[in-house]
Subunit: 709 residues, 2 copies
């Protein structure tokens, strides 16, 4: 995995940053329009527990606090300094921090790398100072951090200036590359009644990246259960992998909203925080592999946070829907279909439990149609919820409500009263029930204003895979198989790339490459007939299109004739750099593709999906880091758009994870060992033969990395 720079953060750095005994605000003021004013106002309003040390040469007092002309005049060395001065002035301020032994600095100004070369130069100066002095630097271009426990509101977000804003501690923490959005997530979490303990906005990430912050938050001693994070692009992916492993081991959950997923969005992201957004399906695969839940919208991220805070990530798949409106029940059913949510089974015996109170004309099949009955009589509502709980085939339930806004208070009161005695997750969808939603959320019953937001949040959690990556990475390093498993070395050697791939145990059809027909006899010493002859030339992309592939050559004479044919066709086309690959013919079968490419963010990643001539046209692959196990193969196959073609389509064999594991896992081992040496490797097709023999790679294309000196 490629990194922009090495980690240099001391243990416990985040604790110090979030719980300073004293904080200096360089650029402090008392006006709400200025960042330094907003920080002062927030620290005062929310009751920061440490010392507040404003620094401003033009003031002697701000909001009742003594103001200092410079950092040098401070009566004590603050644990944290927040710099909210111009970009240029921040350089000398940071240097002064270093001199004075202030190790933790938050730089809130804008005007750095996000603005162009001039700003980038200033940013480099900051970086040099911070590194030389082993400082912990958040930013620049951050709007800061918030910690509920210490009441440290080191953030100039205007959101904190709201009269009605109250900080409510909670089990979730928020890490955001965007200042504005981080503050918004924090606000939405507070307002929904969920609460949030910590907000960290990492800005331009000279030193502290969002991945660093996440890893610090999911460590074994952290009180954080859920990290919600907003990302435009990763600078230290290995730290995210470490964070995912820590989260997995500690039972914590990370949920990410990743933007810049489209070309247009990626361009906008580059203009915003100079971030490389990366290919979306690489992120999709890697996050899935890491057990990181992915959100698709701002409110969606907070929704998932609320569900995780209420019930944790282990929510069963079998949902019971009880709906006031039949239509709303259908809608939830539609939305759940095709995602990892099933309708819980309601056998006749379980349905009979409703007979003493639910009118006969209402459907007891799931979705259960309860009409207004349990809302006019709340004892029946409780009965409904408990009856659903008593069905052993139901893992979780949702009450779908509308048109009872007049009874919001009493209905929610009753639900909240029984919440503590429920053993399975209960959700509420209440169209138009804003007040009820607010109350229920605050009481830990996740409630939603529409069917789609509910299903999205639940499905995001039920489709999550607990990261298998931990066990795979623990099993490293895998022994390098130094003895090539290919055929004897007499005769013409296989090309070095094939030999390398085979040396890792990847099953490749045996082949030899020759320049002319005179070498046929020599080459055939190592090959079993029949063979296939294929044109090899850097000038030809699709060799079958130019008649460059001949199949079923089953005698030495036929091979010689085939080689001559191919070379003369090439010559007729004006191709001067032509060779011929002779390869043992592989039985017909299902054609897959197994490849590696070098992702700009994550380094070597594995691609696996549909192969053969349609590979390029359908472009249907799943992508993962090369740390995978058999279960990941099944997951990748299930994630393909055209998976129908892989389950025994028209007489072709099915793609079975167990049968594919040897070749795919061997390929991954190879990528882990030598992936850095290649820009791309592609084996297409990997044939799953009809005759039941093991999957075998046919065409290998390997592009060595060219490193500039």
């Amino acid at each position: 995995v490629s990194e922009n720079r090495s980690a240099a953060l001391p243990d416990g750095w985040l604790d110090t940053m979030l719980n300073p005994r004293a904080v200096a605000i360089v650029g402090a003021s008392d006006v709400v329009r200025s960042p330094g004013g907003r920080i002062m106002l927030a620290l005062q309003k929310y009751g920061f527990k440490g010392h507040i040390l404003p620094v401003n040469p033009n003031r002697t007092e701000i909001l009742g606090y003594r103001c200092f002309a410079s950092l040098a005049e401070l009566p004590e060395t603050p644990d944290v300094a927040i710099l909210v001065v111009s970009a240029k002035a921040s350089v000398s301020a940071l240097a002064q921090c270093a001199e004075l032994g202030i190790h933790n600095v938050i730089i809130g100004s804008s005007g750095y790398a996000e603005t162009g070369p001039e700003g980038a130069a200033i940013q480099s100066e900051l970086e040099a100072i911070a590194r030389a002095n082993a400082m912990v630097l958040i930013g620049p271009n951050t709007n800061g951090v918030i910690n509920c426990t210490s009441r440290f509101t080191g953030s100039f977000t205007p959101a904190l200036q709201q009269d009605s804003y109250e900080l409510r501690d909670g089990p979730i923490a928020i890490v955001s590359q965007s200042g504005a959005l981080g503050a918004t997530f924090f606000y939405l979490a507070q307002r929904s009644g969920l609460g949030a303990s910590i907000l960290i906005n990492t800005g331009n990430e000279i030193l502290v990246s969002s991945e660093d912050a996440i890893a610090a938050l999911v460590g074994p001693d952290s009180p954080t259960q859920v990290v919600l994070t907003y990302t435009e692009g990763l600078r230290r992916p290995s730290e995210l992998i470490r964070a995912a492993e820590l989260a997995h081991l500690g039972g914590r959950t990370i949920c990410m909203l990743k933007v810049g997923n489209t070309e247009a969005g990626a361009q906008a992201a580059a203009a915003h925080t100079a971030n490389l957004a990366g290919e979306d399906r690489v992120y999709a695969g890697v996050l899935r592999q890491l057990g990181i839940i992915r959100a698709n919208s701002v409110t969606g991220l907070v929704d998932i946070g609320r569900v995780l805070a209420a019930y944790g990530p282990q929510i069963g798949h079998r949902l019971t829907i009880a709906s006031m409106s039949g239509g709303l029940g259908i809608m939830i059913t539609d939305l759940a279909s095709g995602r990892d949510i099933e309708l819980a089974d309601w056998p006749i015996a379980e349905r009979a439990k409703f007979d003493d109170w639910l009118p006969g004309y209402l459907s007891r099949a799931n979705p259960i149609d309860v009409a207004g009955v349990p809302f006019f009589d709340l004892d029946l509502l409780e009965k409904l919820v408990r009856t659903i709980e008593s069905n052993p085939s139901s893992d979780a339930s949702v009450l779908a409500i509308c048109n009872f806004e007049q009874l919001q208070e009493s209905i929610t009161k009753r639900l909240i009263a029984i919440r503590a005695t429920l053993h399975k997750p209960l959700f509420v969808v209440w169209l138009g029930g804003d007040e009820a939603i607010q109350r229920l959320n605050a009481a830990g019953i996740p409630a939603f204003p529409d069917a789609d937001t509910f299903v999205s949040a639940l499905a995001a959690i039920t489709t999550r895979r607990a990261g298998s990556i931990v066990s795979v990475r623990r099993s490293e390093p895998v022994a390098f198989q130094s003895e090539p498993s290919g055929a004897a070395s007499a005769g013409i050697a296989a090309d070095p790339e094939s030999a390398l791939v085979q040396s890792y145990g990847v099953n490749l059809a045996v082949s030899r490459t020759i320049d002319s027909v005179t070498e046929v006899e020599h080459a055939l010493r190592d090959l079993r007939l029949p063979v296939v002859a294929k044109l090899v030339s850097p000038q030809v992309l699709h060799k079958s299109d130019v008649g460059g592939v001949l199949l079923g050559l089953d005698t030495a004479a036929a091979v010689a004739g085939g080689v001559e044919t191919i070379l003369s066709r090439a010559s007729a086309l004006g191709i001067d750099d032509a060779r011929v690959l002779l390869q043992e013919q592989v039985p017909a079968g299902l054609e897959l593709l197994l490849g590696m490419k070098h992702d700009a963010t994550f380094g070597p990643v594995v691609t696996f999906g549909l192969g053969g001539v349609l590979a390029e046209a359908l472009d249907d692959v799943q992508i993962r880091l090369p740390f995978i196990e058999e279960a990941d193969i099944a997951d990748m196959l299930a994630g393909l758009t055209h998976r129908k073609l892989l389950s025994g389509y028209r007489g072709l064999p099915a793609a079975e994870p167990a049968a594919l594991a040897p070749i795919v896992l061997a390929f991954c081992r190879m990528i882990r060992a030598v992936g850095d040496q290649f820009d791309a490797i592609e084996i297409n097709p990997v044939v799953v033969p009809i005759d039941g023999s093991p999957p075998i790679g046919v065409d290998l294309l390997a592009v060595r990395r060219v490193r500039s000196i």
Copy 2:
């Protein structure tokens, strides 16, 4: 198009139903728990302008209104009677209405076809009475209708019982098959400040279907501009087509939330209102063709209604995003990508307009990053909005805001103040800004709580096609081409299905089907060599899989040999019913599929998409009613998942709408004329030849409808 029954609604039926001078409520009471009580309470509360005539044998007065023991005792004949008695009692009540000359009846009870055979029998009795007496019947199993103008709240939805509920007239009407959801849409429309004039809940639709109601609402004299409708399945699709045509001609817009789109959802829909949900992609294609906008969620439907009410359906595609948060701008960009929304171009000269006030470090590229600048100074906010308006490349704009909740009142006030002087649509996304969203919506500036809901609503409108169906249908009837365009009739005739298809001008490869090799010479009189020989047998589904296809037979001898080979192969496989089709060989090319199937809701529909051997595997087709023109062909091609394969992939020709129009439009003409006689027709492949010759159909499969006597 198939129909459940004939239309029998008099002109102006809806007017009478919505504006009764007097209404009888059979089953009236004064308790909120009973439907009859809720209707009485609502009529009183909202000030119904007509006479209220409660009917209940046990009461002499209800809520101050004189109560009558039976319909027969009423002092006047009401225009409308609402029956909220048991299902059984409703039959005699309806009969009494008929006797007394009460022509318009709303039956609110449940317990009919939605509950099983017993209820269905009662429903049949209602239907018989209504038809025999030419009544206009809404329901049963409806919760009624609401009309703001007459204050006729003939609905027992509990939503109306809310203290704070106010009826606000507006340009939209709501038609819903679900009572609970209809009431919810109406409530959400009211609460959002949009207002809504009319709610019609059609329930079990004995007589009045939702399609009838929609058609009545979009007629030339209706004040309704937008109809929002909720559908579980259509009973009178031809009326929806008529409604779409009326809407198109009158500049009105219909927007539909259709549920039961998945197998599980369709099952739930059947249990709810006994509706046949139908195949989702048929609905997708037909609604698109009809110019009906499709919504995906409850709030999404109301969102689209708000945008349509504010700006109508003609909103340009080029969007400018001005965002307080760079991240939020990226998110909107991501979401817009791949839908019919482009980022408006901001050339350097236009960008320069921001230089006098927007700090240099903020991006002027679209999305424009404005940070907090225009929110701290509202003159700059107005400047921002007007500058965006002044860019001729921008059709519409969105302000994306967060963290300024403290300034919600002043910011919205300023935006509302300038709204009237703006010439282009302005939208607001305000994360966490509930109060602002409410105010802006009420003032006709559509505002949204998240990026995804905004983009979904806008894209639903910009991707809409104005229904071409009107002009196509007006051009009917097309002259039937009675002279077959195929080859001479000497020799063995083409099979009757091929002849029929060709007689409509569909370009099919000439073919003859023979039983034995002795007929080859005879058949070749009509065929140009080379020909293809294909096994024809009802016992063989994939003839190429059993060696039943031989290509390039270019002499009579080769043809004879080929026919023998195929017949002996068939015989070896134990196929006793085998014939051979000889067909002029079509040049290689791009392979498409053109077909017809009989949809349970819409009757004969046309399928068009990827053909060849992959047709079944990829199942990538678009579906339309057979009323299409050339522009629809382009639209269908653009809607295919694998459209990449159709734009000149690896040397294949591109699929050009103009070149395809003759064969596709001829096929549609045929379907319009004789589609009823077939269950299915499939031409696969339709080849677009590499040599530039016209697209031509190769294999034809036609399944005649078998009608039970």
